[in-house]
């Protein structure tokens, strides 16, 4: 990896260089009831709009790569049947300006199942391959347990990663494109002092208050399949799907088809779904394979922390804590997993 260092004021110049493209970054959207700012990813046209000191966005950046609703195909009736038209919705490239490590890791995890698997999903790939990602270091929030999940730093899946060293940024360069960009601004080789500073910023374990013990978790989830803890959380769960909505890695979906009013055309729409919603595993005829909210909540944890690990050697959870922060019933992964593990 190639490292560079540049002064903070050069960042505006970097933005300006990229401004010929669509830039998406964190912006302030308002305040919560305690007066703390709420952030979200949005298209920005001005460097001043970027809230680069943001804590965490309410929603993950997934909607730009995995839209909540997406037209998969359209149909046109013909004399002897129908024709299908497929549009991969490969729209314009997007530059992500200031993505935290958890969200970069979330995309890397989605790649495993959506792009590097048996049937790669072209709708996802067409958008994913159109991304330029500029990562940004962060300070852990109370809900963050990314260090427990091993996702507090990003090793790949970005073009450029910036670590805040006070008055300058320490840049990790991972692509030719990023290298070329940096050659257009004023930057220099990092000194031994910068190396030390960089290493110090990585030592922030103490700042992580939320923790999840993931040791042997796949086995413990199987051992505790009948645990009363699932019923306890299941009773609290409202089955609303908010957790999946804000989750950067929830990719489950449903497909619906609609006939147009002219009766000559039809469309097929994919919408992201949540395994907590009651109809998730319901089949035609009415049988529901997961009729209780406890069984659905349990399944969600199984998919994230067991199934995905079995398939890809890593958990699907990045420990961003958004689900816990957004949950109306105050259910969060560190507490759920601790209660399922029980006393050891």
């Amino acid at each position: 990896m190639i490292f560079k260092i540049f002064k903070k004021q050069e960042l505006a110049r970097l933005h300006e260089l990229l401004a010929v493209n669509v830039i998406v970054g964190p912006v302030t959207k308002g305040n919560d009831r305690n007066g703390k700012p709420l952030y979200n990813f949005a298209v920005v046209s001005d460097f001043a709009e970027l809230a680069l000191d943001y804590t965490q966005t309410v929603h993950s950046p997934k909607r730009f790569i995995l839209p909540y609703k997406e037209t998969l195909s359209t149909f046109a009736m013909t004399d002897d049947g129908w024709e299908k038209h497929i549009d991969l919705n490969a729209c314009q490239p997007i530059v992500f300006f200031g993505m935290h490590a958890c969200d970069i890791n979330a995309l890397n995890k989605l790649d495993l199942v959506l792009a590097k698997s048996t049937y790669p999903n072209p709708y996802y790939m067409s958008k994913r391959k159109n991304l330029v990602i500029i990562g940004l270091s962060c300070n852990p929030e109370p809900q963050c347990f990314c260090r427990s999940m091993g996702t507090d730093s990003a090793i790949h899946g970005f073009d450029l990663f910036l670590t805040d060293l006070g008055d300058k940024y320490f840049a990790e360069i991972l692509s030719a494109r990023a290298f070329d960009l940096l050659s257009q601004i004023s930057c220099k080789e990092p000194s031994a002092k910068d190396h030390t500073l960089y290493k110090q910023t990585r030592k922030k374990s103490k700042l992580y208050t939320a923790k999840v013990d993931t040791s042997d978790l796949t086995k413990i989830l199987d051992l505790e399949f009948e645990s009363k803890a699932w019923d306890y959380w299941g009773e609290k769960c409202l089955s609303c799907g908010t957790c999946a909505n804000v989750c950067p890695t929830c990719y489950c979906y449903g497909v619906e088809e609609q006939v147009n009013l002219d009766l000559k055309h039809a469309g097929k729409t994919k919408s992201l779904h949540s395994c907590n919603l009651i109809d998730f595993a319901k089949v035609a005829g009415g049988h529901n394979f997961r009729p209780t909210s406890a069984s659905r909540l349990k399944y969600r944890y199984y998919h994230k922390h067991r199934g995905f690990v079995e398939a890809f050697e890593e958990s699907l959870c990045v420990g961003c804590g958004r689900c816990g922060a957004a949950c109306l019933a105050d259910i969060n992964p560190p507490e759920v997993i601790a209660s399922v593990r029980g006393k050891e």
Partner: protein
């Protein structure tokens, strides 16, 4: 415009393994036509569906136990087990019960209607390994539908297999499927046992549970351990009792196969609707050996 980004072509050979022409590719369904429809019962019909392009039809090859996704524009897409013999390639037979939006619409269609087919998807029954062995095919209700494809494949190569037993149970005589073929099947030196839960006035056959049929079969041989394979398909409660009986009769778990049903929206391991714990029914199933099912939480 040095910094202006351009859209990469995802079909570019450097862009991954994605191939547009792949029959399992996303959204690229094969246009097919319903060539004939037979009413089997009040709610089930057998649809003969032919992939229109002759070349693609011949190239379409599947193994017994696999399924296809059938699409009706504007109505929906759903998975269906293939009921026909693999030698028929893209001349498929699907036996479908009118039970949901898509299947009720399908039931109103007439010959000549166009549908979309993609697949085949999923795992299959290991017919190669089954050669030279006795075969038990045990189906309950609609469970006979995925059993028909391996059955036809066995009948076509009858001399390669040992004793073949079919045990089929339905709620009542009117719900029995493929009744017109029973005589034809019997001509291939197979034992066909049919039972219904509730008899009707003119019912000549036997009444009772499928486990009684199975008990008779088990008592005829000393042990199923050495040379028997079983395929079981039916409602979850039937799996439970039948698989337990077979295990007690000495049939090794890895020689017992089941075909599971789940909700699916893609068939390609992406929508997660068919997940059982951590396993995709569409990729790792629908055919599982009994060991895999035992090892999976909430499978049956």
């Amino acid at each position: 415009m040095r910094n202006k980004l351009t859209c990469p072509d995802i079909f570019d050979q450097n862009a991954g393994t994605y191939r547009k022409e792949d029959p399992g590719s996303f959204e690229y369904t094969l246009p097919a036509e319903i060539t004939s429809i037979y009413s089997l019962t009040a709610t089930e019909k057998l649809y003969q569906i032919q992939i229109i392009d002759p070349e693609k039809r011949n190239r379409f090859s599947f193994q017994p136990g696999q399924f296809v996704m059938l699409e009706l524009p504007g109505i929906g897409e759903a998975p269906f087990s293939i009921s026909s013999s693999p030698v028929r390639h893209g001349d498929l037979e699907l036996c479908i019960r009118a039970v949901g939006n898509l299947t009720n619409f399908l039931a109103r269609l007439e010959r000549g209607a166009r549908v979309g087919i993609s697949g085949p998807f999923g795992t299959s029954f290991p017919l190669q390994k089954m050669q030279g062995q006795d075969i038990l095919l045990i189906g309950g209700g609609l469970g006979i539908v995925p059993l028909r494809s391996p059955l036809l494949a066995v009948l076509e190569n009858r001399s390669k297999f040992g004793r073949v037993d079919i045990m089929y149970g339905a709620k009542n005589p009117a719900e029995l499927l493929f009744t017109y073929q029973y005589e034809e099947w019997r001509q291939f030196d197979i034992n066909l046992g049919i039972t219904v839960d509730r008899a009707e006035p003119n019912w000549q056959g036997r009444t009772g549970l499928i486990t009684e049929l199975l008990q008779e079969r088990i008592s005829q041989t000393a042990s199923l351990h050495e040379n028997t394979y079983a395929i079981v398909c039916g409602p979850p409660v039937m799996f439970h009792f039948v698989c337990k009986m077979l295990t007690e009769a000495g049939l090794p778990m890895q020689k017992m196969f089941v075909s599971l049903e789940r909700r699916m929206h893609c068939g390609r391991g992406k929508c997660c609707r068919c997940n059982i714990g951590s396993t995709y029914t569409c990729l790792d199933g629908p055919v599982f050996d009994y060991w895999s099912v035992m090892n999976l939480k909430e499978a049956i």
